[in-house]
């Protein structure tokens, strides 16, 4: 076959696929406006941005905002809080669906299994506002958890205003919300395990635990690792949704995290450049972390995102 030059290739391609390209126009427009245009956040982080003057007319200030952030008193506290909350969620929240799907997998009754699945999916559909409303009600001094706790410890007031309880409440309510939904990926991975492996194991008189450790767990390991890598990429970006709803002035010392700080400084105080710099810092850390985890996992287990 004769090798065509680029122009002929493009012409042929366009003749065959022009309709596909036309279909892709809305997607391109969307990507450019809503995904690529906001990337100017990188530039704003190095500017004293004035909306009047626009990006090209504002003064460049170099690393001023970054320096300002890293020298503030609250910087350490906010990064520390974010890490604490994020790691607590990772340590307790991440394994929960894995463990649940392993136990679900061992259930002998199909009906019970299905029931557990459906019931544990339910909280995923409840909005953050409602979940936080429930949490505030339940751990309040009149709530069934709060009043029990107060009787037990002799303390007064709502549990949510106690600094040492903020993270446990946040993490536990997160687990309640997402544990069941999180099993979906693992159950899908369990389904894709070759049945013959179990049969072979049975012939070798492998018991329940031997099967679990030699067939089931290796079977879901790739999924586990991929989800873990993705999760690592979000370690500094704990969303502000729930934190903004659960935090009170009394717990600000432990509950103020990067995203709520960016929200306060950026949208409330309108320090555009400064909060863009903080946001950019988070993203750089996230990309670094996801790359490191990916490389490590590639080396150790052979599984990787790219």
């Amino acid at each position: 076959m004769k090798k065509d030059n680029l122009v002929t290739v493009l012409k042929k391609d366009f003749k065959r696929n022009w309709m596909l390209y036309l279909m892709f126009v809305p997607i391109l427009v969307y990507l450019i406006i809503f995904c690529y245009w906001p990337m100017n956040g990188i530039l704003i982080a190095f500017q004293d941005y004035r909306p009047r003057r626009g990006i090209w007319g504002s003064d460049w200030v170099g690393f001023k905002h970054f320096k300002a952030f890293f020298t503030t008193y609250s910087c350490r506290q906010i990064i520390g809080n974010t890490l604490k909350l994020s790691l607590a969620c990772l340590f307790f929240g991440f394994p929960a669906p894995v463990v649940l799907s392993l136990f679900l997998n061992e259930l002998k009754s199909r009906r019970l299994g299905r029931m557990v699945q459906n019931i544990t999916y339910l909280p995923h559909f409840i909005s953050t506002v409602v979940v936080c409303g429930m949490v505030l009600n339940f751990v309040g001094s009149e709530g069934f958890i709060g009043s029990f706790y107060n009787q037990l410890t002799g303390s007064k007031g709502s549990m949510i205003t106690r600094k040492e309880l903020y993270i446990p409440i946040y993490v536990l309510s997160n687990i309640w919300e997402e544990m069941g939904w999180g099993t979906i990926v693992y159950l899908a991975a369990l389904l894709s395990i070759d049945t013959t492996l179990y049969e072979a194991a049975s012939i070798d008189v492998a018991g329940r635990w031997a099967k679990m450790f030699n067939v089931t767990i290796p079977g879901i390991l790739p999924t586990f690792i991929i989800t873990f890598i993705l999760r690592m990429g979000r370690i500094l970006s704990v969303g502000s949704d729930k934190a903004l709803l659960l935090q009170t002035d009394a717990t600000l010392e432990v509950s103020d995290i990067i995203s709520t700080y960016v929200y306060r400084r950026g949208i409330h105080d309108q320090s555009w450049g400064y909060s863009s710099a903080v946001g950019l810092f988070t993203i750089v850390i996230n990309i670094t972390l996801i790359t490191i985890t990916n490389r490590l996992s590639k080396k150790v287990s052979g599984n990787s995102l790219w």
């Binding site: 391609d13 809503f34 704003i44 979906i184």
Partner: protein, 302 residues
Amino acid sequence: MSNNKGSGRSLFKRRRKLGAYDWFDYLNTAMMLLLCVVMLYPMWHVVCASFSDGVELMKHGGNILLAPLNFTFDAYKAAFKHSLIVGSFLNSVSITVGSVAVSMVMTILCAYVLSRQRVFFKKFFNLMIVITMFYSGTLISRYMLITQTLGLSDTFWALILPGCLSVYNMIIVRTAFEGVPDSLNEAAYIDGANHWQVMWKVTVPLCKSTLAVMVLYYAVPVWNSWFSASIYLKSREKLPLQLVLREILIQNNIEQLGLDAINIAASIEYAAMIIGTLPILLLYPALQKHFTKGVMIGAVKG
């Protein structure tokens, strides 16, 4: 997938020669039942409290609630009479319906193009999309784009357009589209169908399950979101339900909203929770039969 009833079922069917239960099975069953109780109780509490008499509920204090106290619809009646709750409910419905419609069209278009073979710019398109998974601006730059550059503040478009294409969902749909046998596409092309016709008449109908699940995946976060509405919407008559719920549940503004009548003061919060949750929860059973099939396939391959 020969078993049409959903592959999720086979998980519990496989390698179960319903043998005798040993200690572990009993323990496991007990733990699962306990888990169900723990998961369900908070929701049950809300349901009971919403049907309870406010005064009784207040007297009851922090005790476990197993059934409604003096069963009554008062809280719901008050909620449905309240113009802000009803209005914001309707706003949420329009935002969700609009958002899902836009998202589905975008997702189908994008997934269709990227699932075709022999498209010269496909690699480039893919790269463009993958990059956005890592970085697509910060909260501040997006906020400035929408309020200053596009001037969309205080419109529903500010909630619908950004994020109307979820890369994750698109990948699931693309995987499903790629699973449509090539022979079907070829047959349609030979019959003179163009891409547009093949997309709507062959690909989309064959991937109904996956697309039904996508409706759920797009609708739930939109219905439940409050943050973007809180920064983009200014006028009170445009507020979505979740923001009104925030006023009632988190900021406890029930006096300002005129919802502090003594018989409902305590129960109105719970009724509001139910009103905010039920519509989206009802979507789940409606789409559930597609669910196991549609998602499992996407999840395994994607």
